[in-house]
């Protein structure tokens, strides 16, 4: 009985497709699997940020300037309640050191509800609603991560910001993929002088310090552009420098694969060059491409954050993690209101997750090893 089961598992291993083998191997890297889940969660929240965030990220509230994070409580002065609640915040006046001080009003409690009604929003341009995933029962603003210098809810701003910060990585990587595959493919497949020239160009770009160039190029974006135009301009600038690594991978694989038996067989069978490339060469190094792409997304996210932070990338009213971090430039402000730095936690979490997933994918990319 036991032996039969063993045989079956060996058999299923032998007939399993490449992708299935990769999945089995990837599954063993527990951290990578967990991080994949985390990233999916982040991206889902970014897509539905209007619904997930408790407040309108642009609504200013002069009564809650630099309000500290509210604590979610289950136990209060008058006992335990299963429904979480917060105490309303009072104060907000400047003390003798010019620091805003808030205190909790423990006499009343405001319950937190799922699917609570709050600020109105329009999602994807056509879904109008005022129902949020969670919020306060009385429709007031909930400050789970505190408020910024205009009394805007930081958590909502981070969630809206994730839409820009996270998508910049994906869209940018898509352009990187196009450029890298095209140029790397030509370089590897054509060879000769073309290959030589392209390789020298890649070496040139790789040997330049990227940040000063990015700074120069993004400073050249016209100040009259709308946030959307700046967003695409940034993506273009970031991917213009980022395709080189990918092009190298693609070229290396092309050179080693085009002389393989199966490519020769396809050629002898009369397949066109394009068919050989798309049908036979591409799938055999696709897994490497995915690894390389997963590892270049965080680089894009970091680049956007850094540029926006120093004021050369996206500018308010656009909301991105880098724009949010602009507020954290003064150490004095940071020391008094440290929650202003919380967008950084999200940046680090996402980048770390991408790195772990990339690590797991790299181990899984060659399942026959």
């Amino acid at each position: 009985m036991n032996r039969r089961r063993q045989n079956e598992s060996v058999e299923s291993f032998l007939v399993a497709s490449q992708w299935r083998l990769m999945w089995w191997k990837f599954r063993k890297h527990k951290v990578a699997v967990f991080c994949t889940g985390l990233l999916v969660l982040f991206y889902v929240m970014a897509v539905f940020c209007e619904f997930v965030s408790p407040n309108d990220p642009r609504e200013r509230n002069s009564g809650f300037i630099y309000a500290p994070p509210q604590k979610i409580r289950f136990v209060g002065q008058d006992g335990f309640s299963l429904r979480p609640f917060v105490y309303p915040m009072k104060g907000g006046v400047l003390d003798e050191n010019w620091i805003r001080v808030y205190e909790e009003d423990k006499s009343s409690r405001i319950p937190i509800r799922f699917f609570a009604r709050g600020d109105r929003y329009t999602m994807f341009g056509f879904i109008e609603s005022d129902i949020h995933l969670f919020g306060l029962e009385d429709g007031e603003s909930l400050y789970l991560l505190g408020a910024d210098h205009l009394g805007r809810d930081l958590l909502s701003r981070i969630l809206y910001g994730s839409r820009i910060s996270l998508s910049i990585g994906v869209v940018g990587v898509f352009i990187t993929l196009l450029l890298g595959c095209l140029i790397g493919g030509i370089s590897g497949y054509v060879g000769g002088v073309t290959d030589n020239v392209i390789q020298r160009v890649i070496e040139t770009i790789m040997s330049l310090p990227k940040l000063p160039l990015w700074m120069g190029l993004s400073a050249a974006l016209p100040p009259t552009w709308s946030p959307l135009q700046v967003y695409f301009g940034m993506i273009l600038i970031l991917s213009m420098m980022g395709w080189t690594g990918l092009a190298r991978v693609v070229r290396g694989k092309f050179i080693s694969l085009r002389e393989e038996g199966f490519a020769m067989a396809a050629r002898l069978a009369g397949a066109t060059e394009l068919r050989i490339i798309c049908k036979h060469l591409m799938p055999s190094f696709f897994s490497y491409l995915i690894v390389s792409l997963t590892l270049s997304i965080p680089a894009m996210i970091l680049a956007e954050t850094s540029l926006s932070y120093i004021g050369l990338g996206l500018r308010p009213p656009a909301i991105s993690w880098g724009v949010l971090l602009q507020q954290a430039q003064s150490v004095q402000v940071l020391a008094e209101y440290p929650w202003i730095l919380s967008p950084a936690l999200f940046v680090v979490a996402v980048v770390l997750a991408f790195n772990f997933v990339g690590d797991g994918l790299r181990d899984a990319a060659d399942p026959y090893k």
């Binding site: 310090p209 000063p212 020391a335 770390l352 790195n355």
Partner: protein, 317 residues
């Protein structure tokens, strides 16, 4: 090498030319408001002449490059001084920080990498791996910010600048250099940490490959002490990739030092480049970009030469 520098100069010039409303045309527009005053007309004409505004872009490029070769990088409009006089000290400091951070990151990475490889899958190996991942994931500017925040709120120290106040504008002296060394390790550490993580991974991987080879087993069989055995051969071989990676480490480190200087407000290229870009003082910005790139390319070349020197197996044909 030379083609690379030409490419860099074209790129820098494009960046100089890109902004639609640059400092110069603003200035000319302002001068033209005072039409009639002969001084204004004269200055406009002088500016046009100097920068060849009436000529096509290619001609202007050659004017700029020939100036560059003679050591004339144009004028900074913001500071109203030749770019030459502003740029060199800051560039030198940027390069000092970059080199220090590479050295520092090696100093940290060597012991950790060797330990990780010789104690593979031990607890400390996992700790080093995790720290390495975190080091890659925390952007340099954030690390600088965190250190500044920590120093300010726990020790009440402001981590800013590269010199103590009494040395900031003093001429160079031995005491000033000592003062510089006292301050430089913080930015160097912050900049180097991302590279450190990568270097640890590379060193660990290479050393693991080497440790499995037969000559190690032979040496062990002959009764060589473990410490001597590791340092005598495998470590020496595993170090080679580290020298060859200076090529791609240097651009990262220079980028890192630019942004860290902005955060920590160091008297290096970072803040001045940012300021120049924000005020569209394009000759200053372009010269910075050009020189930073040039120095990085030269550094890469030196690392190639070092590699050929240190590893006799690699010789360029």
């Amino acid at each position: 090498m030379i083609p690379v520098l030409i490419a860099v100069s074209v790129l820098s010039f494009v960046i100089i030319q890109l902004p639609p409303g640059d400092f110069l045309s603003n200035r000319i527009a302002k001068l033209q408001l005072e039409v009639g005053t002969p001084a204004a007309e004269e200055e406009t004409e002088a500016l046009r002449q100097q920068f060849g505004l009436d000529k096509p872009a290619i001609t202007r490029y050659f004017i700029w490059v020939s100036g560059l070769l003679q050591g004339d990088m144009g004028r900074s409009f913001l500071y109203r001084r030749p770019v030459n006089t502003l740029i060199w000290e800051r560039l030198a400091l940027t390069m000092t920080i970059s080199i220090c951070s590479i050295l520092l990151s090696w100093l940290i990475a060597f012991p950790i990498g060797i330990y990780s490889a010789t104690h593979q899958y031990s607890f400390l190996d996992y700790v080093a791996t995790l720290l390495g991942f975190i080091g890659i994931s925390v952007p340099a500017f954030l690390l600088a910010l965190l250190m500044m925040f920590g120093a300010y709120s726990f020790f009440d120290v402001t981590l800013m600048g590269l010199f103590s106040p009494e040395f900031a504008s003093a001429p160079w002296s031995f005491a000033k250099i000592i003062d510089l060394l006292k301050h430089i390790w913080i930015p160097a550490l912050v900049v180097g940490l991302a590279g450190t993580a990568g270097t640890i991974r590379v060193l660990r991987g290479c050393l693991l490959d080497e440790l499995g080879k037969q000559y190690v087993i032979t040496a062990r069989a002959k009764g060589l002490s473990e410490r001597w055995l590791i340092f005598k051969y495998p470590v020496r071989l595993a170090i080679n990739p580290m020298i060859s990676t200076i090529g791609w480490l240097l651009p990262t480190v220079v980028s890192g030092s630019v942004i860290v200087s902005v955060v920590l407000n160091l008297p290096t290229t970072g803040p001045m480049l940012l300021e120049a870009l924000l005020t569209q003082d394009m000759y200053l910005a372009g010269s910075f970009i050009m020189l930073l790139s040039t120095l990085t390319v030269v550094g890469t070349l030196i690392s190639d030469i070092l590699l050929a020197w240190s590893d006799p197996r690699i010789r360029y044909e």
